[in-house]
């Protein structure tokens, strides 16, 4: 397990900051400290958490997936359209469809990146535009409005499992599964190694192409899942769904200590980033700051996080001089 006391404190310090914000805001507005409030934050953050779980694995390999929001929109649209045409389809089938379509879209990225050896940023920039366009074409530019959304999809956000909203349960399962895969699956080490030293992967026999394909397919599948859940949550489907959201996803990862250069980062940290954004967004209306501040704050926090990350990981050169 790659823990050093140092790394633990990075995630811990983020938690401390979050706790501080919660306490500060709670002091001004005690309603913030209730369980209801916490569940609201978790609910709001669930979809982001699912997307972040996939993105952070991509970032670990020194890649990036800018197409997640478009994937979300396209898969959501596909599920909405299928759901509209077959209203009696069981919800489980639609969920599987979402995972499958999302994974396929992600695999396209993976093929271009791993097989054609194209830079991830360029490929996902392209697919970002293409997927949204396909969503538009699939629906002929029309929206799928609330009454046409499949009943099962609409019911998702209202369902509860043991008193916990289903969205939170799903997010928890996804995060747990990804965390387990990273820790106990062979791929977990290899994905980190790929981002840390891509050239050396060949020498130690890591199947680079397979891993990259898996990683982008995973990110795509989770984006697809988030897509059908998003459609359910907001009871609408249109091609501009979640426009720009990919930046929020990356922001949460960066804030959570995942490095854009690969090899560094943990699920716990990434979830810390999700929690941070969730708490800040929830706090703003409570302390009567206009929601227009959200984006500016997110930007400032990203800059601070990256600066702090770099500072603490500054590589000192190997000490050569022997103390005489």
């Amino acid at each position: 397990m790659t823990t050093s006391g140092f790394k633990l404190s990075r995630e811990a310090s983020l938690l401390v900051v979050i706790a501080a914000i919660v306490l500060l805001v709670g002091w001004r507005a005690p309603v913030f400290l209730t369980l209801r409030s916490a569940l609201d934050v978790a609910n709001e953050s669930a979809l982001l958490a699912i997307l972040v779980a996939g993105q952070m694995v991509v970032l670990l390999t020194r890649g990036v997936d800018l197409s997640v929001a478009s994937n979300l929109a396209l898969t959501g649209m596909v599920c909405a359209l299928v759901g509209r045409s077959f209203p009696s389809l069981p919800i489980a089938v639609l969920l599987l469809l979402a995972l499958g379509v999302g994974a396929a879209l992600g695999a396209v990225n993976g093929l271009l990146i791993a097989l054609c050896r194209l830079p991830a940023i360029v490929v996902t920039l392209g697919t970002m535009a293409v997927y949204r366009g396909v969503a538009f074409l699939a629906s002929n530019g029309a929206w799928v409005s609330e009454q046409d959304i499949h009943a099962g999809i609409k019911a998702l956000p209202r369902t509860e499992l043991l008193g916990v909203p289903l969205l939170i349960v799903i997010a928890g399962c996804v995060v747990g599964l990804v965390a387990a895969w990273l820790r106990w699956g062979q791929a977990g080490r290899e994905v980190r190694a790929l981002g840390n030293n891509p050239g050396a992967a060949v020498y130690v026999g890591i199947p680079e192409r397979t891993r990259l394909l898996q990683v982008y397919a995973l990110s795509g599948a989770l984006a697809g899942l988030a897509g059908v859940l998003w459609v359910g949550r907001y009871a609408i489907a249109f091609s501009d769904l979640a426009a720009g959201y990919e930046l929020t996803v990356i922001a949460a990862c960066v804030i959570g200590g995942v490095s854009i250069a690969g090899g560094v980062g943990s699920i716990a940290g990434a979830m810390g980033g999700v929690l941070f954004l969730g708490v800040v967004n929830a706090a703003l209306p409570v302390i009567q700051v206009s929601p227009f501040w959200q984006q500016a704050i997110a930007g400032a926090v990203i800059l601070l996080s990256v600066a702090l990350n770099a500072g603490s990981r500054a590589r000192a050169s190997l000490p050569i001089l022997e103390k005489s």
Binding site: M1, Q186, N197, A200, V202, L318, I320, L321, E322
Partner: protein, 516 residues
Amino acid sequence: MSRSSPSSIEPVLELRGIAKRFGPTHALRGVDLDLVPGEALALIGENGAGKSTLVKTLTGVHAPDAGEIRLDGRALRFARAQDAQAVGIVAVHQETVVFDELSAAENIFIGRPPKKGPLRIVDWRRMEGEAQGWLEMVGAQFSARTPVRELGIAQRHQIEIARALSVNARVVILDEPTAALSKHEIEGVYRIVERLKAQGVAVLFISHKFDELFAVCDRYVVLRDGASVGSGEMRSADEQELVRLMVGRAVDNIYPPRQRTPGEVALRVTDLSHPTEFSGLSFEVRRGEVLGFYGLVGAGRTEAMLALMGLKPDATAKVELAGCPVDLRDPAQAIAAGLAYVPEDRRGQGALLDMSVGANLTLPALAGPRHAWHGKLSRGPWLSARRERGFAKGLIDRLRIKAASPVVAVGSLSGGNQQKVVIAKWLGLNPRVVILDEPTKGIDVGAKQAVYELIEEMVGQGLAVILVSSELPEAMNLGDRVIVMRRGRMVAEFAHGAPAEAIVAAASGITEANAA
């Protein structure tokens, strides 16, 4: 090729007629060798003789163009690097191949962690336990859970050796395993080799240092220009004979005749120091002289040279160039004052591989605003394509750089020609002092000779040359004086003609009392 008395055991690995070329370069031209279980075979050869290509062929990174590899008598073809590991052939490389964001245990078991349970999840307890065992066997003293980013060169090497052992290999290749180690750590390596032999592993041991080869190896094979030219038993081998086989001619002939007439002091450095990398370095170089800097890998020589060039802001020193004090705050100043630095890593630091030969050659001349040459290739800020072409052509001719035309990318040239480009671009500036950092690393013997001739030419024209080299013969033959550095300090200075043992002793840390 003489065969020694046949061993009574069947060889585990046989190579016959292995050949490999990369574009115009014939890296291997017909290599034959046998690896016998329980024996250590010394692979001897100069830089550029083909040793690392051979290793990569054995580990499946390169596929040979011709020839056969037989394992237990059956011919073998590796599709990927993992295939070699799967049949039990493993190599420990010179440059450590580790992932510093992972722990030592994860590095040792990368690609094949022990698993448990029906779900085949990674068994961390067993992985860390076994890794700790292997680490102890190689004499490492750190925990298997330590993230590699916290470890130094020697320790990373230990992890690599541990990884090789943990694969339960039948053939272990050790490529310059002692380059960065102290005497005590080197003995640890000897013990590992003995233990491997006792377990019936066949060891291929590559090293420049004859004393090591005589200490642990049973037989030898000599490689020259990509072909195996001699083999036999170590105990009946003669060092002179081995060198003759390596070089193919008497030692002196690879080095051009010396005609040194050192002039006045070109560079005087006093007390060059850095908080963590080196301290108290003081030396001077004269015009027309070569000053060698010898030492083990990691001794701090490159770092000191980078500081001279203004690339280490934390370094302090009193520096005088041709008698005038110079403040070396940034590289442009150093270059303007007449210093030139040819880095060790020519692909990573010396050449702009995507840019043309011409653009590479003219780059330093166009780099600094205060440099004397700046006005010659351009008028104000405007580039003059005509003058650039002339300048580049002049250098290409002078150094006989083999390139299809000046507009081909440097990345497409052979290693030796790339090195010529990297050196040539500095010569065009008529510097006072040229620092060459491992200039013959990884280039073939023919190109090496060309570099040596170039060095003689440079000193003949009155340049002062600092030669950082880890190759003792090179430093000894070319250097008018040799300074030895160890762990960041200067420990000795030898005049031309000093015995090799004394220099090596100083570099490895044997006390001064034993040095000549």
